[in-house]
C-alpha cells in the first residue's frame, strides 16, 4: 500500500499511486459500509420490493426492481460500485506487492486474503450476471423435467423418500436424481439436505416435499382392493373393461353438465370412466364418489366401494446455477490459507519485535 504521492510524477504513476492508496481503500470500504448499512434498513422496511432479492440472482432482480422503485434500490448498484472500486484498489495493492514480493514476502498471508477478496468479487459478478436461481420445482418419482435456462439438460427423479420422525418432524429428503444432457447421463447422485448435486455450476438440492391425490382406492367384491388413477384399466370380466380417463379430487358439475376441476384438495372427488364391451363403448361418464354408483355400473355388477385416496409423494427441488462457484471456492481457499499465514507471521514478527504490518 502506498500512502503518499508526488506532484512531479507522470499522470499514470499518479493514477497507479491512487489505485494502491491505503486511504482510498479505507474510504471505499467506509463508503460501501455506510451505503449498505442505510440500504439494509430500506430493505427491511420494503419487503415487497426486496423479497425477490434472495430468490433471484442480482442480474435478474435488479433491472425489475429498478423499473418499479428506482429511489428505493439505487443504493444496491451504488454499493456494488463501491465494492468494485474497493476490489480494484485491492488488485492494484496486490500487483504492487507482487512486484516487490522479494522484500515483502512476510506479508504473503495478508495478500492472499487480498487475492481471495478479488476472486470473490469476480465470482459474485460472474455468478450473478450469468447464473440463475429457480424453484421450488415439483417432481414426482419417475418424472423428468427440463433444467431452466439450460437447453438440452433434463433432471429425472428416480426415487424419493422423505425421512420423518415419529413426532412428524422432517429429518431429511432423499432424492435419487439423474442429470441428462441430450439424453446422455452426465451425473447421478442421491441428493439430501446438505448434500446437493453439483455439476458444472449447477446446484440441485431438496427444498421441501408434498403429497398429491392421484386417485382413489376401492374395494371390488370378488377382486379385492383396486387403485383407480388416471389411465387405469380394470378388467371386470372377459368382455367388460373399465377405463379411467381422469381423476379430479375436487370436481364440480355446472348446469350444462360439464365437469370442472376447482382444486387439488380432496373435497368432491370424481372419476371419468368408460365401460368398454366387445362392441365398443357401453357407457362413458363421470362417477362422483360422494353420490351413488352410476346405474349402468350397478347394472353391470360393478359394486365399487371407495376406501381411501391414493396419494403420491413429490419432491420440491431448488435448481440454481452459479458458474462462478469454483472461483468463489478458490477465493475462500486463498483467504483461509491467508488467514493462517497472517496469524503465523503476526506472532513471528512480534517475537522478533517487528511491528506487524499488513
Amino acid at each position: 500500500m502506498m500512502v503518499s504521492g508526488n506532484s512531479s510524477k507522470p499522470f499514470l504513476l499518479k493514477l497507479w499511486a491512487l489505485g494502491c492508496s491505503l486511504k482510498l481503500a479505507i474510504a471505499l470500504a467506509s463508503a460501501a459500509t455506510l451505503v449498505i448499512m442505510g440500504g439494509s434498513l430500506v430493505m427491511h422496511y420494503n419487503p415487497a420490493i426486496f423479497a425477490g432479492m434472495e430468490q433471484e440472482v442480482m442480474g435478474q432482480w435488479l433491472p425489475q426492481a429498478w423499473s418499479h422503485a428506482p429511489l428505493l434500490v439505487f443504493w444496491v448498484p451504488l454499493s456494488g460500485l463501491c465494492i468494485l472500486l474497493f476490489a480494484l484498489n485491492t488488485l492494484c495493492c496486490l500487483i504492487d506487492w507482487l512486484i516487490m514480493v522479494r522484500v515483502r514476502w512476510r506479508k504473503t498471508g495478508e495478500y492472499l486474503i487480498h487475492a481471495g477478496f478479488i476472486l470473490l468479487t469476480v465470482a459474485y459478478l460472474w455468478g450473478n450476471l450469468s447464473g440463475f436461481r429457480s424453484g421450488p420445482h415439483r417432481l414426482a418419482p419417475g418424472e423428468r423435467m427440463s433444467i431452466p435456462n439450460m437447453p438440452g439438460y433434463h433432471l429425472q427423479l428416480k426415487e424419493f423418500t422423505p425421512l420423518i420422525e415419529p413426532s412428524g418432524r422432517p429429518l431429511d429428503m432423499i432424492n435419487k436424481l439423474v442429470l441428462w444432457k441430450n439424453d446422455r447421463q452426465v451425473a447421478q447422485k442421491t441428493v439430501r439436505i446438505n448434500h446437493p448435486m453439483v455439476y458444472d455450476g449447477l446446484v440441485i438440492l431438496p427444498s421441501s416435499y408434498g403429497q398429491d391425490i392421484q386417485g382413489f382406492r376401492f374395494h371390488l367384491p370378488g377382486t379385492g382392493f383396486v387403485d383407480l388413477v388416471s389411465g387405469s384399466r380394470l378388467p371386470i370380466s372377459s368382455d367388460l373393461l373399465l377405463v379411467v380417463h381422469r381423476f379430479i379430487p375436487n370436481a364440480r358439475q355446472d348446469k350444462k353438465g360439464r365437469v370442472v376441476e376447482i382444486g387439488r384438495r380432496l373435497n368432491n372427488p370424481a372419476l371419468q370412466i368408460s365401460l368398454l364391451g366387445p362392441a365398443g363403448t357401453i357407457w362413458q361418464g363421470w362417477y362422483f364418489l360422494r353420490r351413488q354408483l352410476p346405474e349402468v355400473m350397478v347394472g353391470a355388477g360393478i359394486y365399487l366401494r371407495p376406501v381411501e385416496p391414493v396419494l403420491t409423494t413429490f419432491s420440491l427441488l431448488t435448481i440454481n446455477r452459479d458458474p462462478g462457484d469454483k472461483v468463489a471456492l478458490t477465493g475462500g481457499f486463498f483467504i483461509t490459507v491467508g488467514v493462517i499465514f497472517a496469524f503465523f507471521s503476526f506472532y513471528r514478527k512480534r517475537t522478533i519485535d517487528d511491528r506487524p504490518e499488513i
Binding site: I193, N194, L205, A328, V339, E357, I358
Partner: protein, 263 residues
C-alpha cells in the same frame, strides 16, 4: 444443564469481577491474583459445562439465545485469560469481566434445554461457522473493552491500567485476530450456504450485516497504518465496531426477521 452450576459459574465470575474492583481500590496484587484464579476456575467450569452440553446434544449446541450468550461468554473469558497471561493486564480485567457478566447474566433466566437440531444445521461447517463467529466476536468485545480503557487511560494516566502503547498493542492484536477468525467464519458460512441453500451469498439482512462487520474490521486492519488514527481514533473505531457486532448478533436476531432468529 443444571441451573445451580450456572449460578455457581455466575457467582465465580462475579467474585472475580469484584476482586478486580477491590484491586483498583486497594491496589493489592494478591487480590488481582485471586481474581485471576477465579477466572481460571470459571473458565474450567464453563468449558466442562459446554463440553457436557455438546456431548449430550451430539452437536455444538449454539442454536438459541441462551446457548449463544453462554458460548460468547465462554469465548470472552478464554480470550481475556489469553491476554492476561500474555500481557499481565490486571485491572483491564474489570471491564472485560463486567462485559462477561452482562453476557452470562443475560443467559441466566433463559431456558437451558437443548432443542432438536434442524437438519440443515447438521454439518461440521455449522460448528466451524459458529466457533469462528463467536470467538471472533469475543476478540471484538475484547478490543471494545481495551478501546474504552485506552480512552480512560489517555485522560487519567493512571498506574492501575497498562500504558497507552500496551493498550494500543492489545487493541490492534484483538482486532487482527478477531478479523481473521471472523473471516474464517464467513468462509465456512459461505460454503455451508452453498451446499444447504445453493448460493454462497444471499441478500438477507443477517448476511448483509455480517459483510458489514467484515468490511468494517477490514477497514480497521488498514486504518492502523494511518498515523493520525493510531491510538485514540482506533479506540473509538473499536467501540463503534462492537456496536455493529452487537446489532448483527442481537439486534437482527431479536428485533428483525432473519434466517438467524434468536429465541
Amino acid at each position: 444443564m443444571s441451573k445451580t452450576l450456572l449460578y455457581l459459574l455466575f457467582a465465580i465470575y462475579l467474585m472475580a469481577t469484584s476482586g478486580y474492583l477491590l484491586h483498583i481500590v486497594w491496589r493489592r496484587s494478591f487480590v488481582a491474583a485471586v481474581s485471576l484464579i477465579l477466572v481460571f476456575a470459571g473458565v474450567i467450569l464453563q468449558t466442562a459445562l459446554l463440553g457436557h452440553r455438546w456431548w449430550a446434544a451430539g452437536y455444538l449446541p449454539v442454536t438459541n439465545l441462551f446457548a449463544t450468550l453462554f458460548f460468547f461468554s465462554w469465548a470472552l473469558a478464554l480470550i481475556y485469560l489469553y491476554f492476561e497471561l500474555r500481557y499481565r493486564i490486571r485491572a483491564t480485567g474489570l471491564f472485560v469481566m463486567l462485559l462477561n457478566l452482562v453476557l452470562l447474566g443475560g443467559a441466566l433466566p433463559r431456558d437451558t434445554s437443548i432443542s432438536a437440531l434442524i437438519p440443515a444445521l447438521d454439518t461440521p461447517l455449522f460448528s466451524l461457522h459458529i466457533i469462528f463467529s463467536f470467538v471472533g466476536y469475543a476478540f471484538f468485545a475484547m478490543a471494545f473493552s481495551v478501546g474504552v480503557l485506552y480512552l480512560c487511560q489517555s485522560r487519567l494516566n493512571t498506574q492501575l491500567l497498562p500504558d497507552l502503547p500496551t493498550l494500543r498493542k492489545i487493541n490492534e492484536e484483538a482486532i487482527f485476530l478477531g478479523f481473521g477468525l471472523f473471516t474464517l467464519c464467513m468462509v465456512a458460512g459461505s460454503i455451508w450456504a452453498h451446499i444447504a441453500w445453493g448460493h454462497w451469498f444471499s441478500w438477507n439482512i443477517k448476511s448483509v450485516w455480517s459483510v458489514l462487520v467484515w468490511m468494517f474490521y477490514a477497514g480497521m486492519c488498514h486504518a492502523k497504518f494511518v498515523r493520525r488514527w493510531q491510538g485514540g481514533v482506533y479506540a473509538w473505531l473499536s467501540i463503534a465496531g462492537f456496536g455493529v457486532v452487537l446489532f448483527t448478533y442481537l439486534g437482527i436476531g431479536l428485533l428483525l426477521e432473519s434466517n438467524h432468529p434468536l429465541e
